[in-house]
Every structure is written in structure tokens, then in C-alpha cells.
Amino acid sequence: MSGRAQQLRLVEALIFAAGEPLGEDVLGERLGDPAALGEVLRELCELYAGRGVNLVRLAGGWTFRTAPDLATALRVERQVPRKLSRAAVETLAVIAYHQPVTRAEIEEIRGVALGKGTLDLLLEAGWVRPRGRRDSPGRPLLWVTTEGFLAHFGLDSLTELPGVDELRAAGLLELQPLARAAGEESGSEG
């Protein structure tokens, strides 16, 4: 078997065995030939394009996952996860697009107090986590999304968030100029 074919097999097996996205650093190191990795991954992607299982980049790593168009045929296999409440979906979106963001800022954007358990739910799903604190009075916790969030929603990185460029262009990702209805001052971005 040629060296390239063997490289293909090894990377294929590594990604298959891992069961979660593998970074290119790890793959390159295990391949013993980091320079060849890009080409190997490209060939593997092609090999699996159009198949029932595809090679994709998720959350900064490479992984195999079933083809999206088979969702309906496969879904019976799994329990349909509990439908997320509107509050949870919106809160997740605010964290995803405005991270890092404090609880107060989430409430400000949504114009309503965060219900008990909404953050807990997202935390439990492994989609958000606190990371650091805002350097402002009260030093509130900052919330960010996780790698699990990226993987779950089929994103390689936050730059792939749907519509993120348009929102930024429209100035809708700036928290600063938000004048609050009740006239309070919003905290400064860190």
C-alpha cells in the first residue's frame, strides 16, 4: 500500500475512533507528517462527500457525522430532545452573538428578567459556560458559548454564526449604544 493511501487510512481511523472533533495539531502529530495533513484531509473529504457519513470541520476539529439530508430517516433512532423554550433559544442567541456577556446585558437585550433555570438549562446542555468576570462594579460573571455549542449546531467557529456579518454591519452586535428604556446605564464591554 502506498504511503499516501496509508496516511489516508490512518487519519480516517483516527477521526473515526475519536468520536469527537480532532484538532489538526493532534492529527498532524499522529500522522507524523503535518505538512501532508491538509492534502490528506482534502482527499478524505472528497471521498466521503455525498456519502451517508461526511467528514466535516466542527468546533475547530475534524469529525465524521451523518449527512444532514438523512436527518428524517435517522431521527427515529434517537429520542427527540426536549424542545427549547423561546426564552432559552433567545438567551442562547444573545450569548452566542454578544459573548462575552453578563446576565444583566442578556436581560437588557431581551427586555425581561432571565427566568429561573434558563441559563441552567443551557449550561446543562453544555452550550454555554461562565468565563471570567466583567471588570465593572459587582464583577458580574461573563457568559460564553462552548465547543459543544459549535459542534451541536454544526459550526466550525463563531465566525460561522448565521448572519453574524450582516448583524455586525448593522451595528447590532454593539452593546455600547444601547439606551435603556428605564434610563439606566449599561455596563461597558470588556
Binding site: E20, R86, H152, F153, G154, A179
Partner: protein, 253 residues
């Protein structure tokens, strides 16, 4: 307002006053950029007062919003020269429109996120990953200095024991050879091997080494042609004498 009855029933479906304003704005069926904040404020206030008439409980933040909208309305309708540090009615309206746009954007983003193929829901990772076996390999941190230091320490500690080793009280073949060396020229006649034992009573172990080493030394002397051995019967006494000069050429195995 035709929608108010329906809105009353739906109040609990709103995610707060901004969300409700946004819903009312959508009722205007126009681009958010073009909505009339004034009309929106009117709708909201009408809705809240309708609920009040019905003596329905209204959450505090809805009331706060109602009060603020009433203020905004007055600022918009009765323009007065604003004080320096206060935003104008238009600025306030613009800020509210921006909030509505932001919430709208986030609601849309949430829907778009949720409509993506989701892992574990629409697309699946490998169900039975073997995993990559991780074999822990211990790496010990020891320097040459540690090694030498440990050795020195150990030797210091064990030093006393090393120095008190008893000398072995054994008679070696070398000892026997040296003894024969001195006597060999002076044994023309057969002499019993045991007669070369000069030592007495230094222990059974020593006596046994004496016998074995003397015999081995005598065999060695015979091999190199410097002595002759004689034994007349099995287990009988063994005799030794110097080899005759003429017999020097003889080879014995």
C-alpha cells in the same frame, strides 16, 4: 383596537415588554426601520389600560414600560427645548427602535440556529467510538546529580557495613601453589599430600578448603610437569614428589 382581546389572552406568551412591543410592531406589518414609535406607544398603552380595566394583573416591568412610553409620547408630541444632558424625544424613539431591532435580530438568529442540522438530533457522530486508547507512560524526573547524590548518600549510610566484612578464612589454590613453590625442589621422595597441611583446627570450612586447594594445586603442578602424584587404591592416601629432571618432557593431561 381590534387585536386587544387576543393580546390580552396572549400576554403570558410574551417574553417581556420589549418582546410585546416587537409583536405589536410586527402587527404594523412594516419594516422595523419604518415603524411609527408613536403609534406603537399608543397601541401598547391602549393594551395595558384595557388589561387594567379588566383588573388583570400586570407584571411590574410592563407597567414600567407603559410609564416610559407615556413619557416618550409626551416628549414626541410636546417638543420642548431639551436640557443639555437629556436626549431628545427623537433620540429616545431611535434608541427604542434600535432595541426592537436588536431583539428582532436575536430572535431571528435563535430561529436560524435552531433550524440548522443539530448534532444528536439531525446529524450524528459515531455512535460507538472505540476511542483512542491512552497509554500512560510515566516519565521520571531524575537528574544525574540526583543519581550521584543518592549513591553517595547510600554509600555513606552503608559504609560501616562495607568496612566490617570478615576476611574469608579459606585456603585458596593460590595459597597452596605458593606453599608448594617453596618446597618443590626439596621433595625427592614420595610424601603424603596431607603432610603439607601445616594448619590445624581452624574450622571445618577451612580444613575442607585446605584439602581441596592442595589437591587442585598438586594436579596443576603435575600438569605443568613439575611434580608427580601417586595413589595406590581408591580413597587411599595420595603421594607427591618433585618431578625428575629427565621426565620434564613428559606430557600429562
Amino acid at each position: 383596537m381590534s387585536e386587544s382581546a387576543e393580546l390580552v389572552l396572549d400576554l403570558d406568551g410574551y417574553e417581556g415588554p420589549i418582546d410585546m412591543l416587537l409583536s405589536l410592531a410586527r402587527e404594523q406589518k412594516v419594516d422595523l426601520a419604518k415603524i411609527s414609535i408613536l403609534a406603537l406607544a399608543d397601541q401598547y398603552l391602549a393594551f395595558i389600560s384595557a388589561r387594567r380595566r379588566l383588573r388583570l394583573e400586570i407584571a411590574a416591568d410592563y407597567l414600567v414600560m407603559a410609564a416610559w412610553l407615556a413619557y416618550l409620547k409626551s416628549r414626541l408630541l410636546l417638543p420642548e427645548p431639551p436640557r443639555d444632558d437629556e436626549p431628545s424625544g427623537e433620540e429616545l424613539a431611535e434608541a427604542l427602535a434600535q432595541r426592537l431591532k436588536l431583539l428582532e435580530a436575536m430572535q431571528q438568529a435563535g430561529l436560524r440556529l435552531m433550524s440548522r442540522p443539530r448534532l444528536g438530533h439531525d446529524v450524528f457522530l459515531r455512535g460507538l467510538p472505540e476511542g483512542v486508547a491512552v497509554v500512560p507512560r510515566p516519565v521520571y524526573e531524575v537528574s544525574l546529580y540526583d543519581l550521584l547524590h543518592a549513591y553517595g548518600e547510600g554509600r555513606r549510610r552503608a559504609g560501616a557495613q562495607i568496612l566490617t566484612i570478615e576476611p574469608p578464612s579459606l585456603f585458596s589454590m593460590d595459597d597452596a601453589l605458593k606453599r608448594f613453590e617453596r618446597l618443590l625442589g626439596h621433595i625427592p621422595e614420595w610424601r603424603e599430600l596431607t603432610s603439607f597441611f601445616l594448619e590445624e583446627g581452624t574450622g571445618e570450612l577451612f580444613r575442607r578448603s585446605l584439602l581441596a586447594s592442595t589437591l587442585a594445586a598438586s594436579l596443576e603442578l603435575v600438569r605443568i610437569g613439575r611434580a608427580e602424584l601417586r595413589q595406590e587404591r581408591t580413597f587411599g592416601p595420595i603421594y607427591l614428589r618433585s618431578a625428575l629432571p629427565a621426565a620434564g618432557e613428559r606430557e600429562e593431561g
